[in-house]
Symmetry: C2
Subunit: 199 residues, 2 copies
Protein backbone atom coordinates (compact mmCIF):
# COMPACT_ATOMS: atom_id res chain seq x y z
CA UNK A 1 0.00 0.00 0.00
CA UNK A 2 1.34 3.41 -0.93
CA UNK A 3 0.85 5.56 2.13
CA UNK A 4 2.71 8.64 0.93
CA UNK A 5 1.07 10.39 -2.05
CA UNK A 6 3.12 9.99 -5.22
CA UNK A 7 3.93 13.70 -5.50
CA UNK A 8 5.47 13.57 -2.01
CA UNK A 9 7.24 10.30 -2.82
CA UNK A 10 8.74 11.87 -5.92
CA UNK A 11 10.01 14.89 -3.98
CA UNK A 12 11.51 12.64 -1.28
CA UNK A 13 13.36 10.62 -3.90
CA UNK A 14 14.65 13.74 -5.67
CA UNK A 15 15.77 15.39 -2.43
CA UNK A 16 17.41 12.16 -1.30
CA UNK A 17 19.70 12.26 -4.32
CA UNK A 18 21.31 15.52 -3.18
CA UNK A 19 24.68 15.22 -1.46
CA UNK A 20 24.48 15.16 2.32
CA UNK A 21 20.71 14.53 2.36
CA UNK A 22 19.81 10.99 3.36
CA UNK A 23 16.39 9.35 3.05
CA UNK A 24 15.32 10.50 6.52
CA UNK A 25 16.28 14.14 5.94
CA UNK A 26 14.61 14.04 2.53
CA UNK A 27 11.42 12.79 4.16
CA UNK A 28 11.61 15.44 6.86
CA UNK A 29 12.15 18.22 4.30
CA UNK A 30 9.33 17.00 2.06
CA UNK A 31 6.91 16.79 4.98
CA UNK A 32 8.00 20.21 6.16
CA UNK A 33 7.33 21.70 2.73
CA UNK A 34 4.01 19.90 2.52
CA UNK A 35 2.96 21.41 5.85
CA UNK A 36 4.14 24.88 4.85
CA UNK A 37 2.27 27.15 2.55
CA UNK A 38 2.44 25.93 -1.06
CA UNK A 39 4.07 29.26 -1.99
CA UNK A 40 7.26 28.05 -0.25
CA UNK A 41 7.70 25.01 -2.47
CA UNK A 42 6.58 26.99 -5.54
CA UNK A 43 9.27 29.62 -4.92
CA UNK A 44 11.95 27.03 -4.28
CA UNK A 45 10.82 25.08 -7.34
CA UNK A 46 10.98 28.17 -9.53
CA UNK A 47 14.43 29.04 -8.16
CA UNK A 48 15.63 25.56 -9.09
CA UNK A 49 14.13 25.62 -12.55
CA UNK A 50 15.68 28.96 -13.42
CA UNK A 51 19.05 28.10 -11.85
CA UNK A 52 20.98 27.25 -14.99
CA UNK A 53 19.13 29.72 -17.21
CA UNK A 54 20.70 32.72 -15.48
CA UNK A 55 24.25 31.40 -15.40
CA UNK A 56 26.87 31.26 -18.10
CA UNK A 57 30.64 31.09 -18.11
CA UNK A 58 32.89 34.16 -18.29
CA UNK A 59 34.58 34.44 -21.69
CA UNK A 60 37.90 35.42 -20.09
CA UNK A 61 38.23 33.57 -16.79
CA UNK A 62 35.51 30.87 -17.04
CA UNK A 63 34.01 31.92 -13.71
CA UNK A 64 30.21 32.07 -13.28
CA UNK A 65 28.80 35.00 -15.21
CA UNK A 66 25.41 36.46 -15.95
CA UNK A 67 26.61 38.19 -19.11
CA UNK A 68 29.65 37.56 -21.33
CA UNK A 69 32.03 38.71 -18.62
CA UNK A 70 31.89 37.84 -14.93
CA UNK A 71 31.60 40.44 -12.19
CA UNK A 72 35.34 40.33 -11.52
CA UNK A 73 36.54 40.58 -15.14
CA UNK A 74 34.12 43.39 -15.91
CA UNK A 75 35.07 45.40 -12.81
CA UNK A 76 37.26 48.46 -13.56
CA UNK A 77 38.80 48.43 -10.08
CA UNK A 78 40.59 45.07 -10.14
CA UNK A 79 44.36 44.70 -10.55
CA UNK A 80 44.75 43.10 -13.95
CA UNK A 81 48.38 42.12 -13.38
CA UNK A 82 47.67 39.34 -10.85
CA UNK A 83 45.70 36.19 -11.69
CA UNK A 84 44.64 33.54 -9.20
CA UNK A 85 44.19 30.12 -10.77
CA UNK A 86 41.43 28.14 -9.06
CA UNK A 87 39.68 24.84 -9.72
CA UNK A 88 36.03 25.84 -9.56
CA UNK A 89 33.87 28.97 -9.49
CA UNK A 90 33.12 28.19 -5.82
CA UNK A 91 36.78 28.80 -5.05
CA UNK A 92 36.38 32.30 -6.46
CA UNK A 93 33.53 32.86 -4.02
CA UNK A 94 35.73 31.63 -1.14
CA UNK A 95 38.63 33.90 -2.10
CA UNK A 96 36.34 36.89 -2.65
CA UNK A 97 34.94 36.43 0.84
CA UNK A 98 38.40 37.05 2.33
CA UNK A 99 38.23 40.54 0.80
CA UNK A 100 42.04 40.41 0.45
CA UNK A 101 42.46 39.59 -3.21
CA UNK A 102 42.05 42.39 -5.73
CA UNK A 103 43.33 40.65 -8.86
CA UNK A 104 41.62 38.55 -11.52
CA UNK A 105 40.85 34.84 -11.62
CA UNK A 106 41.23 31.93 -13.96
CA UNK A 107 38.91 28.98 -13.35
CA UNK A 108 40.36 25.66 -14.57
CA UNK A 109 37.11 23.73 -14.34
CA UNK A 110 38.63 20.87 -12.37
CA UNK A 111 41.96 19.14 -11.92
CA UNK A 112 43.94 16.69 -14.01
CA UNK A 113 42.70 13.24 -13.01
CA UNK A 114 43.53 10.40 -15.41
CA UNK A 115 41.33 8.03 -13.41
CA UNK A 116 38.30 10.19 -14.22
CA UNK A 117 39.47 10.71 -17.81
CA UNK A 118 40.31 14.39 -17.20
CA UNK A 119 43.49 15.45 -18.99
CA UNK A 120 45.00 18.94 -19.44
CA UNK A 121 42.95 19.45 -22.61
CA UNK A 122 39.66 19.19 -20.72
CA UNK A 123 40.74 22.04 -18.44
CA UNK A 124 41.19 25.73 -19.16
CA UNK A 125 45.00 25.49 -19.14
CA UNK A 126 45.67 26.53 -22.72
CA UNK A 127 43.47 29.60 -22.30
CA UNK A 128 45.49 30.47 -19.17
CA UNK A 129 48.72 30.22 -21.16
CA UNK A 130 47.23 32.50 -23.84
CA UNK A 131 46.24 35.07 -21.20
CA UNK A 132 49.76 35.05 -19.73
CA UNK A 133 51.37 35.25 -23.17
CA UNK A 134 49.44 38.43 -23.91
CA UNK A 135 51.84 40.01 -21.45
CA UNK A 136 49.75 42.09 -19.00
CA UNK A 137 50.06 39.55 -16.20
CA UNK A 138 52.98 39.75 -13.75
CA UNK A 139 51.99 37.12 -11.21
CA UNK A 140 50.03 33.89 -11.34
CA UNK A 141 48.92 32.54 -7.97
CA UNK A 142 48.21 28.81 -8.11
CA UNK A 143 45.28 28.78 -5.68
CA UNK A 144 44.37 25.11 -6.13
CA UNK A 145 43.25 22.87 -3.29
CA UNK A 146 45.81 21.01 -1.17
CA UNK A 147 44.88 17.66 -2.76
CA UNK A 148 47.09 15.23 -4.64
CA UNK A 149 45.45 15.76 -8.05
CA UNK A 150 45.48 19.52 -7.57
CA UNK A 151 49.18 19.42 -6.69
CA UNK A 152 50.04 17.61 -9.91
CA UNK A 153 47.78 19.95 -11.87
CA UNK A 154 49.62 22.89 -10.32
CA UNK A 155 52.93 21.25 -11.23
CA UNK A 156 51.77 20.77 -14.82
CA UNK A 157 50.67 24.40 -15.03
CA UNK A 158 54.02 25.54 -13.60
CA UNK A 159 55.80 23.62 -16.37
CA UNK A 160 53.59 25.27 -18.97
CA UNK A 161 53.97 28.79 -17.61
CA UNK A 162 57.66 28.80 -16.67
CA UNK A 163 58.86 29.58 -20.23
CA UNK A 164 56.80 32.80 -20.19
CA UNK A 165 58.85 34.11 -17.25
CA UNK A 166 55.73 35.11 -15.26
CA UNK A 167 56.08 35.11 -11.46
CA UNK A 168 54.49 31.95 -10.04
CA UNK A 169 53.30 31.72 -6.43
CA UNK A 170 50.94 29.51 -4.52
CA UNK A 171 48.84 29.72 -1.37
CA UNK A 172 50.74 29.21 1.90
CA UNK A 173 50.41 25.82 3.55
CA UNK A 174 50.35 25.81 7.34
CA UNK A 175 48.21 25.57 10.40
CA UNK A 176 44.60 26.66 9.93
CA UNK A 177 43.51 29.51 12.18
CA UNK A 178 41.94 28.03 15.31
CA UNK A 179 43.74 24.73 14.75
CA UNK A 180 45.90 23.25 17.49
CA UNK A 181 49.42 21.87 16.98
CA UNK A 182 48.58 18.59 18.64
CA UNK A 183 45.66 17.92 16.29
CA UNK A 184 47.40 18.94 13.06
CA UNK A 185 48.37 16.05 10.79
CA UNK A 186 52.09 15.59 10.30
CA UNK A 187 52.15 16.78 6.68
CA UNK A 188 50.38 20.05 7.53
CA UNK A 189 52.69 20.55 10.49
CA UNK A 190 55.72 19.74 8.29
CA UNK A 191 54.59 22.33 5.73
CA UNK A 192 54.00 24.89 8.48
CA UNK A 193 57.56 24.28 9.70
CA UNK A 194 59.09 24.51 6.22
CA UNK A 195 57.12 27.66 5.44
CA UNK A 196 57.85 29.37 8.78
CA UNK A 197 57.74 33.15 8.63
CA UNK A 198 59.84 35.79 10.41
CA UNK A 199 58.04 37.22 13.43
CA UNK B 1 30.44 43.27 -6.15
CA UNK B 2 28.02 40.40 -6.66
CA UNK B 3 30.20 37.36 -7.34
CA UNK B 4 27.46 34.75 -7.30
CA UNK B 5 24.93 35.13 -10.14
CA UNK B 6 21.52 36.21 -8.88
CA UNK B 7 19.79 32.95 -9.88
CA UNK B 8 22.28 31.05 -7.69
CA UNK B 9 21.96 33.60 -4.90
CA UNK B 10 18.20 33.17 -4.97
CA UNK B 11 18.45 29.38 -4.76
CA UNK B 12 20.93 29.61 -1.87
CA UNK B 13 18.59 31.89 0.06
CA UNK B 14 15.57 29.64 -0.60
CA UNK B 15 17.45 26.47 0.37
CA UNK B 16 18.83 28.16 3.47
CA UNK B 17 15.29 28.68 4.76
CA UNK B 18 14.65 24.95 4.98
CA UNK B 19 14.99 23.38 8.43
CA UNK B 20 18.38 21.83 9.11
CA UNK B 21 20.02 23.52 6.12
CA UNK B 22 22.33 26.35 7.10
CA UNK B 23 23.89 28.94 4.79
CA UNK B 24 26.96 26.75 4.10
CA UNK B 25 24.94 23.65 3.20
CA UNK B 26 22.62 25.76 1.06
CA UNK B 27 25.65 27.11 -0.82
CA UNK B 28 27.10 23.63 -1.26
CA UNK B 29 23.79 22.24 -2.55
CA UNK B 30 23.28 25.14 -4.96
CA UNK B 31 26.82 24.80 -6.33
CA UNK B 32 26.35 21.05 -6.64
CA UNK B 33 23.14 21.52 -8.62
CA UNK B 34 24.78 24.17 -10.76
CA UNK B 35 27.60 21.77 -11.63
CA UNK B 36 25.18 18.92 -12.34
CA UNK B 37 23.19 18.63 -15.47
CA UNK B 38 20.37 21.19 -15.58
CA UNK B 39 17.90 18.29 -15.82
CA UNK B 40 18.58 17.55 -12.13
CA UNK B 41 17.43 20.93 -10.90
CA UNK B 42 14.57 20.99 -13.41
CA UNK B 43 13.26 17.66 -12.11
CA UNK B 44 13.62 18.69 -8.48
CA UNK B 45 12.00 22.04 -9.28
CA UNK B 46 9.07 20.36 -10.98
CA UNK B 47 8.67 17.93 -8.06
CA UNK B 48 8.51 20.90 -5.69
CA UNK B 49 6.05 22.84 -7.79
CA UNK B 50 3.64 19.93 -8.09
CA UNK B 51 4.01 18.91 -4.43
CA UNK B 52 0.81 20.40 -3.07
CA UNK B 53 -1.22 19.88 -6.23
CA UNK B 54 -1.22 16.09 -5.83
CA UNK B 55 -2.09 16.04 -2.15
CA UNK B 56 -5.38 16.52 -0.39
CA UNK B 57 -6.79 15.47 2.98
CA UNK B 58 -8.73 12.23 3.50
CA UNK B 59 -12.41 12.94 4.11
CA UNK B 60 -12.57 10.35 6.90
CA UNK B 61 -9.25 10.32 8.73
CA UNK B 62 -7.61 13.58 7.51
CA UNK B 63 -4.47 11.74 6.46
CA UNK B 64 -2.70 12.65 3.20
CA UNK B 65 -4.76 11.49 0.25
CA UNK B 66 -4.59 11.67 -3.49
CA UNK B 67 -8.32 11.22 -3.92
CA UNK B 68 -11.22 11.75 -1.48
CA UNK B 69 -10.10 8.84 0.67
CA UNK B 70 -6.57 7.99 1.74
CA UNK B 71 -4.88 4.69 0.90
CA UNK B 72 -5.68 3.29 4.35
CA UNK B 73 -9.35 4.28 4.50
CA UNK B 74 -9.97 3.02 0.97
CA UNK B 75 -8.26 -0.32 1.57
CA UNK B 76 -10.68 -3.27 1.93
CA UNK B 77 -8.20 -5.26 4.06
CA UNK B 78 -7.90 -3.00 7.09
CA UNK B 79 -9.54 -3.71 10.43
CA UNK B 80 -12.18 -1.02 10.76
CA UNK B 81 -12.72 -1.61 14.46
CA UNK B 82 -9.40 -0.14 15.63
CA UNK B 83 -8.43 3.49 15.14
CA UNK B 84 -5.02 4.98 15.94
CA UNK B 85 -5.18 8.69 16.75
CA UNK B 86 -2.03 10.49 15.60
CA UNK B 87 -0.93 14.10 15.41
CA UNK B 88 0.26 14.37 11.83
CA UNK B 89 0.17 12.40 8.57
CA UNK B 90 3.91 11.70 9.05
CA UNK B 91 3.00 9.68 12.14
CA UNK B 92 0.83 7.48 9.92
CA UNK B 93 3.88 6.85 7.73
CA UNK B 94 5.95 5.94 10.80
CA UNK B 95 3.31 3.51 12.10
CA UNK B 96 2.76 1.97 8.66
CA UNK B 97 6.49 1.31 8.42
CA UNK B 98 6.29 -0.98 11.45
CA UNK B 99 3.94 -3.20 9.43
CA UNK B 100 2.26 -4.16 12.71
CA UNK B 101 -0.86 -2.01 12.65
CA UNK B 102 -3.76 -3.13 10.51
CA UNK B 103 -6.43 -0.73 11.71
CA UNK B 104 -7.47 2.75 10.59
CA UNK B 105 -6.12 6.15 11.56
CA UNK B 106 -7.41 9.49 12.68
CA UNK B 107 -5.09 12.46 12.12
CA UNK B 108 -5.66 15.29 14.59
CA UNK B 109 -3.66 17.88 12.68
CA UNK B 110 -1.61 18.92 15.70
CA UNK B 111 -1.93 19.11 19.46
CA UNK B 112 -3.74 21.44 21.83
CA UNK B 113 -1.34 24.30 22.49
CA UNK B 114 -2.87 27.46 23.99
CA UNK B 115 0.44 29.31 23.56
CA UNK B 116 0.19 28.82 19.77
CA UNK B 117 -3.54 29.56 19.82
CA UNK B 118 -4.46 25.95 19.02
CA UNK B 119 -7.55 24.82 20.92
CA UNK B 120 -9.58 21.59 20.57
CA UNK B 121 -11.73 23.21 17.87
CA UNK B 122 -8.76 23.65 15.54
CA UNK B 123 -8.06 19.91 15.70
CA UNK B 124 -10.02 16.99 14.28
CA UNK B 125 -11.36 15.95 17.70
CA UNK B 126 -15.06 16.44 17.02
CA UNK B 127 -14.81 14.36 13.85
CA UNK B 128 -13.10 11.62 15.88
CA UNK B 129 -15.97 11.67 18.38
CA UNK B 130 -18.47 11.41 15.49
CA UNK B 131 -16.57 8.42 14.06
CA UNK B 132 -16.62 6.66 17.42
CA UNK B 133 -20.28 7.47 17.99
CA UNK B 134 -21.18 5.74 14.74
CA UNK B 135 -20.42 2.55 16.64
CA UNK B 136 -18.14 0.43 14.45
CA UNK B 137 -15.02 1.25 16.45
CA UNK B 138 -14.07 -0.94 19.42
CA UNK B 139 -10.67 0.48 20.29
CA UNK B 140 -9.04 3.89 20.01
CA UNK B 141 -5.25 3.90 20.38
CA UNK B 142 -3.95 7.32 21.40
CA UNK B 143 -0.72 7.23 19.40
CA UNK B 144 0.36 10.78 20.15
CA UNK B 145 3.96 11.80 20.78
CA UNK B 146 5.41 11.61 24.27
CA UNK B 147 5.42 15.42 24.64
CA UNK B 148 3.71 17.57 27.25
CA UNK B 149 1.17 19.14 24.84
CA UNK B 150 0.41 15.75 23.29
CA UNK B 151 -0.16 14.25 26.74
CA UNK B 152 -2.73 16.90 27.60
CA UNK B 153 -4.33 16.53 24.17
CA UNK B 154 -4.60 12.78 24.78
CA UNK B 155 -6.11 13.49 28.18
CA UNK B 156 -8.66 15.85 26.62
CA UNK B 157 -9.57 13.24 24.00
CA UNK B 158 -9.93 10.59 26.69
CA UNK B 159 -12.42 12.81 28.51
CA UNK B 160 -14.37 13.29 25.28
CA UNK B 161 -14.42 9.61 24.33
CA UNK B 162 -14.97 8.01 27.75
CA UNK B 163 -18.76 8.51 27.67
CA UNK B 164 -18.96 6.46 24.46
CA UNK B 165 -17.57 3.42 26.29
CA UNK B 166 -14.97 2.74 23.58
CA UNK B 167 -11.79 0.95 24.70
CA UNK B 168 -8.97 3.51 25.03
CA UNK B 169 -5.30 2.50 24.89
CA UNK B 170 -2.05 4.28 24.24
CA UNK B 171 1.42 3.41 22.98
CA UNK B 172 3.70 1.82 25.56
CA UNK B 173 6.33 4.03 27.12
CA UNK B 174 9.64 2.38 27.88
CA UNK B 175 13.23 1.90 26.81
CA UNK B 176 13.83 2.38 23.07
CA UNK B 177 15.31 -0.66 21.35
CA UNK B 178 19.10 -0.29 21.34
CA UNK B 179 18.95 2.15 24.26
CA UNK B 180 20.95 1.46 27.40
CA UNK B 181 19.61 1.70 30.92
CA UNK B 182 22.40 3.98 32.05
CA UNK B 183 21.68 6.54 29.31
CA UNK B 184 17.89 6.54 29.64
CA UNK B 185 16.44 9.64 31.27
CA UNK B 186 14.75 9.07 34.60
CA UNK B 187 11.22 9.66 33.34
CA UNK B 188 11.59 7.11 30.51
CA UNK B 189 13.13 4.64 32.94
CA UNK B 190 10.33 5.30 35.43
CA UNK B 191 7.74 4.65 32.75
CA UNK B 192 9.51 1.46 31.69
CA UNK B 193 9.41 0.28 35.29
CA UNK B 194 5.74 1.14 35.77
CA UNK B 195 4.82 -0.54 32.51
CA UNK B 196 6.92 -3.68 33.06
CA UNK B 197 5.65 -6.72 31.21
CA UNK B 198 5.58 -10.40 32.18
CA UNK B 199 8.44 -12.34 30.61
Amino acid sequence: MQIVPSSVERLISELGRLPGIGPRSAERLAFYLLKSDSLRSQTLGAALESLHAGVTSCRICHNFAETQLCAVCSSPTRETSVVAVVEEPFDVVALEKTGLFKGLYHVLGGVISPIDGVGPDQLEILSLLRRVEQGDINEVILATNPSLEAESTAMYIRAQLEPTGVKLTRLARGLPVGGALEYADQITLGRALQGRQSF
